[in-house]
Each structure stands twice: as C-alpha cells, then as structure tokens.
Symmetry: C2
Subunit: 506 residues, 2 copies
C-alpha cells in the first residue's frame, strides 16, 4: 500500500481566444491529453467551470487532438472570452461545475408537482448564469407546456425573471407602456403611440426588441429613423426632456432570462400562455411601467388564433399584472392580414412616417390601430376620459403635435434619419384575376426575411393589395425589396407559388 | 426595377479536419463571411446539412472570424468527418437542413396527445439520423416523462428502435438472454450465467455495453478476461462453436437510438419506465433473443426503489415482450448493497473468476444470484423443469463444467486473460466501532469512478464488510484501488466522510 498525498493543486491553463461565434453559448476547447482533462476526468461535451479571479463562466467542453492547440491552453469562444474579460495567455482554472441543485425542481415539475417562488427563483437564477444546458432548458419549457403554468406559478416565474435583471424606476407616479404579443407583420404602432402619449404629457419610456424570428422588430424599424442603442443615462435624459423614448431594450438587461427561454421555444416551435405572460410582464415591470396596454392580434395565421384563446390570455395578463400592482388593459385587434403596407425595417418606418405626417396616402389601418392603442394608453394614463382616448389620439395626430413630438424624441436620441431605399425591387404579380381572400402572415414574414430583412434594413416587401380587393391577372400583389440581385432571386424563388401567400380566388 | 436572375448555384466549400471530439455531435465551423453563410443566411448555432456525394450529415454550425479558418473551407469535427468519410480538401455542400416533419409529433405529444406507430417510427428515424438537437431530444423525453408512455406507445417505440438498427438472427429456435436493469454495483452475473447456459446446451449470444455512468459495464469487466470487440462473423463463429459469447454490443449497431436517448436522460437524471422497457426490449429483440430473464434489483439506493415499482415494471416488460413474441421472466433481487466484493472492471472480474472456479472464498452472494438468474434462463430454455433451474445451475458450477465452458468461450474470443492489479491500494477504515446498517450504492459507484474506473481497468474498490457486520474502530471498510497516487488521493478526499457511504452505527 502506498502512502497517500493530499489532492495536488492543478496548475492553471493559459487562455487563448478562439473567435468562435456560438450565439451566447460559451465554449471551451482543450486538448484531450491536457493535465486538467485527465485529472478532472472531463469528458467531451460536458460542462466545465472556467474561472479567472472573481469572474467565472460555465462552458461547453470540446476536446481536440489537434497539435495547433497546445496542451497547456484552453481556447475560449467569444461568449466565454467576453464573460471573463480575458487577455491572451492569462491563466484560468478549469474544473467540473458545481451540482445544479435547482434541477431537482425541474424534475419534480416534469412529474407533475407545482413549483413555488423559491423553486422558480433558483431555476431562473441558474438559467441566467448560463448553468442550464439546452437539455435542461428544453425540459423546463416542455414540462411547463405539458402541464401549463397555473396562476401562482406564472406570478412566481414573472417575479423571478424580474429579480435577475436590472429594473428601471421613474420619478413619475404614472408610467405608461404598450406591448403587442406579436405574430403580425407590419404592426408597427409603437412609434406613433409613444409620440401621441408624450405629446399629451404622459411618461412613456418605451424599450423594444430587435427581430427574433420576424422581418423587423420595433428597434430595427426605429433604427432607420434615429439611434436606438442608448445607454441608461441617455435614455433617462431623453425621457426627462421629451416624456418618451423609442430605444432598444437589449442594452438595459431587463429580464435577461427571457431571451434564453425564447431561443429554446423557437427551436421547439412551442409557445405557451404562461411563458408569454411572464415574458411580457417581466419586461414591463422591469422597465418601471405602472399602466400597460396590450395589443392582441387575433387571426388564423397570427400567434393567437381564436377569440377564446385571446380572452383567456387577457384574463391571465390582467390577474398576474395585478399581483405586481400593474394595471393591464388588453385590446383584441384584427390579425387576419398585415398592418400597413411595408414589411421590413425601412419599409415599415415609411408607413410610420406617413401616419405621423398625416400624408394623404398613409395606410389607414395603421393610423386607426395606432389611435386605438394610443387611446387606451391615454385613458390608462388619466389624460382622456373612458372612451374618449381614440378621439384625442386622432386629434393629436391631425394637429401635427404627434409628429412634432416624434421629431423631438428622435433628435434627443441623436437625430432624425431618412430610412434607406433598397437597390433592387421586383413585383410579384397575380397569375389570374379574382378577389384576395386570404393572406398568410407567416409566409409573408418568411418572404421578407429571404429578401434580406432585418439584416438589410431596406429589404422586405410592400403589399399592394389587401383582403377583399379585386385584382386583374398580371396586377402586382406585392413588391419585393432587396439589397442584392441574389437575395431578390432567392425570395422570388420561394414566392413562385405566391398564390398561396396572397390567395386570389376567381 | 432590376432584372432578376435565377438563384445562383453555390460553389462548394473545401472540407478540413478539425480533430474535435464532441461525443457524437457533428460540428461544422465556417467563417462568418464565407459565401455560404452569407447567401444561405446561416446563423451561428443553427443546424446545417453537409453533403458529400451520396453521404450527408447534419451538423451544429459555429462561425468564426479567425484568419486560420479560410473562408472557402468548412472545418468538421471527428463525428462529421467520419460520417462523411472525407479526405482533406474534398468539396462538400453546406445548406439549411430540410424541415423536421416528425417534430410535429413531439409537439402533439407535449400537449398530451398519444403517438401512433407512424409517429414513433418517424421520430426515431430522425433521431438516429442525427437530425434532432438536444433541445428536441430533451422535449421528447420530457414529454414522455410528464405523461408516461402507455402500453401501445411503448410497443411502438420499441418497434421503431428495433427497426432503425441492425438485427441478428440465429439458426436455433430458442435463443436465451438476460438483462439487469442496473443500478447495483458489482452485479456482474452475466459471465457466470452465459457459461452455465452454454454448458447446458443453450444458445446465449450475450452482447453487453460498456459503462455509461457506472464504474464498470459487463463489457469492461469481460475485457479484462478476453477480447470483447468482436465483429459479427467472429461473434457468429464463437456462438456456433461454444453456444455462447460475451461480446461488446457497441459494434453491432443494435438499437442505436438507445444510446442517444440515454445520454439525454442521464443529463436530466430522469429515468422513465416506458423508455427503460423500450431500451431493454429493443436491444434484446434486435439481438435475436426469444427468451429473456430480467434481473430487477430493488433497494433504497438502487434504480428501482419499491416492490410496487418493480412489479409494475415487470408486468410492462412482459406485456410488451409478448407483443414481439418474446418470453420475458423477471426476478426481483436484493438491491440493498453491492453484489460480490469488487467494484471496477478487474476487481469484478476477479469475483467472477472465484465463483466460476468454486474458490473457497468466492463471494457467496454473487454465486447465489448468478445461480438464480441462470436457473430462470435454464427453465426458459427448456433444459430444466420449472423450479429446478437454480439447482441445475449450481451443479453446473460445482462440477466445473461452467468454468470449462467459460474458458472455451474466452479462448474462442481470442484468449483468456488475467485481470490487471492496481499499482496503488489504500484502505478506508471505520472511524468508530458498531454495526454496518446502510450501504449507499450510488456513492460507492462515484467513489470507484473517482479512483479511475472504468478507464483504468484495475481501478475501483473492494468492499471488506457487508450489511449487518460488526466492525471495530480502525477496521477496513473497503480498499481503494488506483493506478496513480493522485487518483487515489482524489478518491480518498471524496471518501473523507465514508461513514455516510458505508454507515456504521454503534
């Protein structure tokens, strides 16, 4: 029998930057025969904890036998590199991550037991710390789809999602906000609603997201009109001066768990009410809102497809909101076809400008919908009597006060811009005459994305017809806008059977 | 408006070998600015289909800006490289994978609808083709844990798992087999049972797995006694000549979906009855068995913890087996403590040898348990009357016929070997006197793995006491075996509070 020494302290590895992009996934590449892999018994595709002083990040481990990777080195992806704030060659420690205690809650939930506030807090904390693998995240979201979150769990989840992020606070006792549950291309009412609310003296610090699966998010559209990547002090200054802003929310770190959950739900193509409520309300609570109008488009190819589902969602939004002292009012809107004419950042921005400037050919549906939502916001904010909001909203537009306020907000954010124009434009024409009876929102979005939206801000499409219109053979149904001929060709290729995307019946 | 060309056909990329190990996950690394990423609109961490002639593989895409990766190259991990059978610099096509149709079945299952045979076949086919991401796999397994697989679904899943792999067939009308549902360290009865069955004229082509989470699989233990990595023709020759074999099943490609599901279940630490039944039976059916004895250890730290759960599992194993014409008989065995004395490949092999050679200090519990299981196998195989199997099994051991047959099987597989001996051995002693009242199987396994099992075949531990034994202070409870002093030190460090692993009460 040998004499036994205490466990030796392992010498650190040198950090090397791998310049690998993996959509927020930290990755570590180490030689299979390095002393750490061997003594720690690390296997490929396991999780490791990489530590540099006080900072640490959990990473996915891959191993290599390639001589280009020295055995005393750990090569780190961009996400890991940034999280640790490293310089080339700095020493780091790599070891097994601690046991993931909160996973016991996920397992209990899989087997049908409910989660309390403590369980949810522990899960969400580990999620934002990057300790959940895709396997764990998918199990959590699947379990809460198989047995939907109840009201209490939705409150706990919302609370947990708020707690792990930053929270904004405002001196005003009333802070209004709006949100659309999405799924409807072109529904770009926020810039108009903010301009109307701020012009009427309300405080509306609107933060928006960039597109995730859609051809344009509000932040993408607004970016063609003004800078949106504001730091917190700029945002405060804009709101203080103009009453409202239209900023990108990404830099604010509001409800950071949401982005992680959304990525997995998108991959599974599942969308549950409980997650939706927690997602929307956690962001609004973290943004400091006290009164929120929620636009719920209902239609066969929108996210919410039936009036029953819409009513159930609205009731849950209101009841959960109440638990946080948040006043929520939902509007059910027509989700049968896109709003306005443009789909894509710049094309939607031009619709917004037309409405704000009261141009004679401004899309009437966008004007009307923005006025309805702004009306609810004005009523919630106490500057219009119940039922008088939409009229005040239209007056604010028609008097030019909304446009004037919008210009001032854009100037405060860094200057009003002119949306770009695409280099290549091609029409998609009707192959036969008849009446437009159906518009497929999902496939229209896909088409706009194939044309290059939102990465190319000028790309997308412009609808030339609406439901119920009579069209002749050869008449344009829509125009495709792209920056390159190749992208235009791809989109046209997809759209060959456009009869299905915009359905014309003789 | 520009004139539109048809979508250009993309020039291929050159394949480069990355030598990256990611536990079967094919990975492709491409420059962010390469023409394929740009024109296909590929985003990091998405799935791509890599094609070389007739062969294709679905891979996880990472992007890089590193100059060491040329923009006309795609660097591929070992799993992708092997799947495509590539040579350095060969041209490959990279594009979006086709839509994963079977995911609609997973989504329906999440929302509580049952899957039919066609759904299961489509899901399992896509799983073994590597088209399911971890997110999809986790969702499927979580959904079937939240709402357990019913009898029909278990049959459909078993059938689907058999169909996607290779199936062995044997000229004999009766082919016996055995399986242990696991969770009990040292329970290494297979070599003994095969020797007894073959010595009595039965056909028992036993294929076993290597350890997944345990300190030794039967294949790991057998490898210290004879070669186990047999190709199909060698396996057939061994069985033809000796009636039995003890081979590694990995090369046989039997039920390949199983390994994929097991990896995800392990990460989630969930284990459902339906998946367990489909896993065990699909492998037995694919191996060509007609009669199977299943050992179900029951105990507080075994996989199956209650008699009720064991009975339910046995009933499901039998009823599903029947649907495939498979005769299944289950034995409930004591799962309160390990079987035999050794835990780890070589240490278990020595217990097996002692029982087969009828050595005076052979572990009696291993002898008895192997005889019970072999008895059921002999009865199922029709060479012993009902109830007379265990006696015949013991006679076969005592007469030396089992040992003689075991030696012949090992010789046919390539030669009998002597299990290796560890370089470092250290005892773990009782910190106080008393009676052994509890043995934690899970933590014993962990301890043996920390000592280096199964990678170091000589590593592991040897129990010196059993439940109910009286021990004095300072008396060894177990011996740790390791190849290096460092590994021994790590294991001892973990075992500091060994009182909990082997609990002694005054």
């Amino acid at each position: 029998m040998s004499v036994v020494a205490p466990p030796p302290s392992l010498p650190p590895l040198r950090a090397a930057r791998l310049q690998l992009h993996a959509a927020h996934q930290p990755i570590a590449v180490m030689r299979s025969d390095c002393h750490v892999c061997r003594s720690e018994g690390l296997s490929p595709r396991s999780q490791v904890l990489v530590t540099r002083g006080e900072r640490q990040v959990q990473a996915l481990l891959y191993q290599t036998d390639d001589e280009r990777f020295p055995p005393d080195q750990v090569a780190l992806s961009e996400a890991a590199w940034r999280a640790l704030g490293l310089a080339e060659g700095e020493p780091v420690q790599v070891r097994h991550p601690p046991v993931l205690e909160s996973l016991a809650g996920v397992r209990r939930r899989i087997y049908g037991r409910r989660l309390d506030a403590g369980d949810m807090a522990a899960i969400v904390r580990d999620v934002v710390q990057g300790r959940y693998t895709d396997v764990h995240l998918s199990a959590f979201l699947t379990a809460t789809a198989a047995l939907p979150l109840d009201a209490d769990e939705t409150v706990h989840l919302t609370h947990a999602m708020v707690e792990v992020g930053q929270c904004l606070s405002w001196p005003s006792p009333v802070v209004v906000d709006k949100h659309c549950v999405g799924g409807l291309p072109g529904n770009r009412t926020s810039p108009i609603v903010v301009a109307i609310a701020a012009a009427n003296g309300l405080v509306m610090p609107k933060t928006s997201s960039r597109a995730i699966t859609s051809p344009a998010g509000t932040a993408d559209t607004m970016q063609t009109l003004a800078p949106v990547d504001l730091d917190l002090s700029t945002l405060r200054r804009v709101v203080e001066r103009e009453g409202g802003c239209l900023a990108w929310g990404g830099a604010m770190h509001l409800s950071p768990a949401d982005d992680i959950f959304v990525r997995i739900e998108r991959e599974l193509d599942i969308d549950t009410e409980g997650q939706l409520v927690a997602s929307v309300l956690s962001k609004k609570i973290a943004a400091g809102a006290t009164h929120v109008a929620i636009d719920i488009p209902v239609g066969p190819t929108a996210k919410i497809r039936s009036p029953e589902a819409a009513r159930h969602l609205a009731a849950r939004m209101q009841s959960v909101g109440e638990r946080f002292g948040l006043v929520v009012r939902c509007l059910f809107t027509d989700g049968a076809q896109p709003v306005g004419r443009g789909i894509g950042p710049a094309l939607e921005a031009r619709d917004v400008l037309a409405v704000l400037r009261c141009e004679h050919d401004a899309p009437p549906d966008l004007r009307e919908r923005a006025a309805d939502i702004a009306g609810v916001v004005l009523e919630l904010g106490g500057v219009a009597a119940e039922g008088a909001g939409p009229r005040l909203a239209l007056e604010t537009l028609d008097s030019g006060r909304a446009w004037e306020r919008f210009v001032r907000i854009c100037e405060a954010q860094g200057g009003l811009r002119t949306p770009p124009q695409a280099a290549c434009v091609a029409p998609l024409v009707a192959t036969h005459g008849g009446r437009v009876v159906h518009v497929d929102n999902r496939r229209l979005s896909r088409l706009a994305k194939l044309a290059g939206a939102p990465e190319s801000p000028a790309a997308g499409l412009r609808l030339r017809v609406r439901l119920g219109d009579e069209v002749a053979r050869g008449q344009p149904l829509l125009e495709l806008h792209a920056q390159t001929a190749a992208e235009l060709a791809y989109a046209l290729d997809y759209a060959r059977d456009a009869g299905d995307i915009v359905q014309v019946v003789a």
